[in-house]
């Protein structure tokens, strides 16, 4: 066991994976000599050489397109997109090509590979360094999408992604990359205790980030990524007001863990879905619909979203824009006291 932040956990995972096979490469803008703008790939080029840790030209469509070709050929790529805000030049390659290769080729050309990209706000990046675009990838079948919230999951999910036979997008919560109290008032992001050896976290399984204490009105929060910690803080505040919160950390956005969602929703009958992405057609809408479809008779209150606001994130007003613990708390109390 070692104490790691998410960046260290990612870096550690990449070192382990690269050591296990020669048919694995890392590519992206500034990932080599510089070690990535968030330093997630530091030391890898030194250890594995320029041929396997590649500083690419500045072109996301080229990064993903080339990674697809490598994967088809049998060399798996872990591509880094510097910020998820810059992934859209590769959108066609991802949703029309990567997502569909196995299906459209009758199974002849599967295309397993990994895309790592930092998501979310809280680093004063303005609206071009803060986006949370998960729903526009989840919508296109063929892509696995995971979103770790802590160093342990960041490592375990990344290694599972690299093992997977599917293309996997790993959405890394950049505002908690470096451990506790990065950002403002976001609750605790403890450094994680992470095994140094190889392990995986199963894709498609949620985890319970906070269990019911048995005191007060029970409420479920379904969330993921950095928001898990914001919700944790809200849950503490709610406890003081007689509301007992279970937090389900979805971890895997597609496939999602329907059992975990349904189990918690049926247990409490009161559900809040919290995420950072814009509300309209965001991932939270899908979760609301799933709860509607599978738990209607159990619901004591409308399933309530606490998502990001729709407009692009502003700069100095960022901390008004991002869903904070107070907003989650309000929704939790609203559903707890709904009558």
């Amino acid at each position: 066991m070692a104490t790691m932040n998410i960046i260290q956990a990612v870096n550690n995972a990449l070192h382990l994976a690269m050591s296990r096979t020669d048919d694995l490469v890392i590519l992206g803008e500034d990932v080599g000599k510089f070690g990535g703008v968030f330093r997630a790939t530091v030391g890898l080029q030194e250890e594995f050489g320029e041929d396997r840790v590649i500083d690419t030209p500045l072109a996301e469509a080229g990064i993903i397109g080339a990674a697809i070709g490598m994967s088809l050929y049998g060399v798996k790529a872990v591509a880094e997109i510097q910020f998820s805000d810059f992934i859209f030049p590769a959108y066609d390659q991802i949703v029309n090509e990567l997502a569909k290769f196995r299906y459209r080729s009758g199974g002849e050309y599967p295309c397993p590979m990994v895309i790592r990209t930092p998501v979310g706000g809280g680093i004063r990046g303005g609206h071009y360094h803060s986006q949370s675009p998960e729903s526009v990838f989840v919508h296109h079948a063929g892509l696995v999408v995971v979103a770790p919230s802590n160093p342990y999951d960041a490592k375990g999910l990344l290694l599972a992604a690299i093992e997977s036979d599917d293309p996997v997008m790993v959405l890394e919560p950049k505002r908690i990359y470096r451990g506790p109290d990065h950002g403002k008032n976001w609750g605790n992001h403890p450094l994680g205790q992470v095994p140094e050896d190889y392990f995986t976290v199963p894709i498609g399984k949620a985890s319970i980030a906070r269990e019911l204490k048995g005191q007060g009105v029970p409420v479920t929060i379904l969330t993921y990524g950095a928001m898990v910690h914001t919700c944790g803080k809200a849950a503490e505040m709610a406890a003081a007001e007689g509301v007992d919160v279970e937090i389900v950390d979805l971890r895997s956005l597609l496939p999602y863990d329907l059992d975990a969602i349904v189990q918690s929703a049926k247990k409490t009958g009161r559900v809040v879905v919290a995420n950072e992405a814009p509300r309209t057609c965001g991932y939270a809408a899908e979760i609301v619909s799933l709860v509607m479809e599978h738990c209607f008779d159990w619901l004591e209150a409308p399933v309530t979203r606490v998502p990001g606001y729709d407009p692009p994130s502003p700069y100095p007003l960022e901390f008004a824009y991002l869903p904070d613990a107070g907003r989650v708390l309000k929704a939790v109390k609203d559903v707890a006291h709904y009558a």
């Binding site: 469509a61 080229g62 088809l72 050929y73 080729s105 496939p255």
Partner: protein, 378 residues
């Protein structure tokens, strides 16, 4: 600042590479001599057969027996040439107008026809329109409709083969219209930086559906773009199958020597409509078509073969009839086969069928059994 050119400095040649003129006159005797005569006959036959297939399929489509077809009439040399020139281990990224690659390299003929119908034996399991086949055994990558996406992918495969040191080359096909997409640029630029063993084969057939070359780009030759990526460029007569073979061989040698990619621009012409959904009468002149019909890749080879005594009208007739019978029979077989199974709609989206797709599959199954469904299986 300019350095002296080195032996492995890529050059860009816009001189039309030719082995044989439209009149069957040989202008590159040396290259011709290097080609086994029986191979030339085989190539001729294959192109002629392709022409017959295309004509028959278009007729079938008009009769409503096919949903869609897209011919390569006039451009046969651009598929059969490269297919011949390269090795078994090499990888192909076709666009949609190179069936010849598959047929030459041994994709089962019936599988190709099954794909036109989308039946249960279609290699892509009825998941794509006709003409979007795949052929894993032959290292021919799955075709998709969005044009140009295959270009950076070919760069990636070429890089992977370089990393492994297996000596394979990846060749990628696309039209001159497609060369306007961003993917062209990123694919070639990455390949240049990586000195990837890739060949980018641009079929310049003058049109992108209705859009003529001069509305596609202001450059005189697509091959000139090689300058911008520091890679080799070569213009070749795309209606001269021997010249195409020569150009592809040179590019493959260059690539296998570790010197990087080549952009080949093959000058040709789409004698047919873009596809069965198109009619060129609205946008181009019969005169232009007639001029290009004279430059037909099959015709010029025939003149030469006949002169050499390697071909005659009887052979021609027999070849055409056999091809015609073959494709008609294959289509009948294809039509007699059932649709793909329902589960092909839900499996192979992911490696394993996830729960949410399993639930969708079950719901569809129940719906079909309810008797209220529009769809009737065949």
């Amino acid at each position: 600042m300019t350095k002296a050119p080195q032996a492995d400095t890529p050059t860009v040649s816009t001189k039309l590479m030719q082995v044989m003129t439209p009149n069957g006159k040989v202008v590159d005797k040396k290259f011709l001599a290097s080609m086994p005569q029986e191979d030339i006959v085989r190539l001729y036959e294959a192109m002629l057969v392709q022409r017959v297939y295309d004509e028959r399929m278009i007729k079938m489509q008009r009769q409503g027996r096919l949903g869609f077809y897209l011919a390569c009439t006039g451009e046969e040399a651009c598929a059969y040439g490269p297919a011949y020139a390269l090795e078994d281990k090499d990888w192909f990224y076709p666009a949609y107008r190179e069936p010849g690659i598959a047929l030459w390299r041994g994709m089962p003929f019936q599988a190709w026809v099954d794909n036109m119908v989308g039946n249960c034996d279609d290699p892509v399991k009825g998941r794509q329109m006709p003409v979007h086949w795949t052929a894993r055994e032959q290292n021919i990558v799955s075709i998709s409709s969005p044009v140009g996406t295959q270009i950076p992918q070919a760069t990636g495969s070429a890089y992977a083969s370089k990393l492994r040191g297996d000596g394979a080359v990846s060749i990628c096909f696309f039209g001159e219209g497609t060369s306007s997409e961003g993917d062209f640029h990123v694919g070639l630029n990455f390949a240049g930086v990586w000195k990837a063993p890739a060949i980018f084969f641009c079929r310049n057939n003058g049109y992108a559906i209705s859009t003529p070359y001069e509305k596609t780009t202001a450059t005189e030759h697509i091959a000139l773009r090689a300058h911008g990526y520091g890679i080799r460029g070569q213009v070749v007569d795309g209606n001269d199958v021997l010249a195409v073979i020569k150009a592809v061989r040179e590019a493959a040698d260059w690539a296998r020597q570790g010197k990087g990619p080549t952009l080949i621009e093959a000058k040709t012409y789409r004698l047919a409509a873009h596809s069965t959904s198109d009619d060129p009468k609205g946008y181009r002149l019969e005169k232009e078509e007639a001029m290009w019909r004279k430059r037909c890749p099959i015709k010029r080879l025939k003149i030469w073969l006949e002169k050499e005594g390697l071909w005659d009208d009887d052979k021609e007739q027999a070849c055409i009839e056999a091809a015609s019978d073959r494709i008609i029979a294959a289509l009948q077989v294809a039509e007699s086969k059932p649709h793909p199974e329902l589960d092909t709609m839900f499996n192979e989206v992911f490696a394993d069928v996830p729960d949410h797709l399993r639930r969708q599959h079950e719901a569809l199954q129940a719906h079909l059994e309810s008797g209220t469904a529009d769809y009737q299986p065949r």
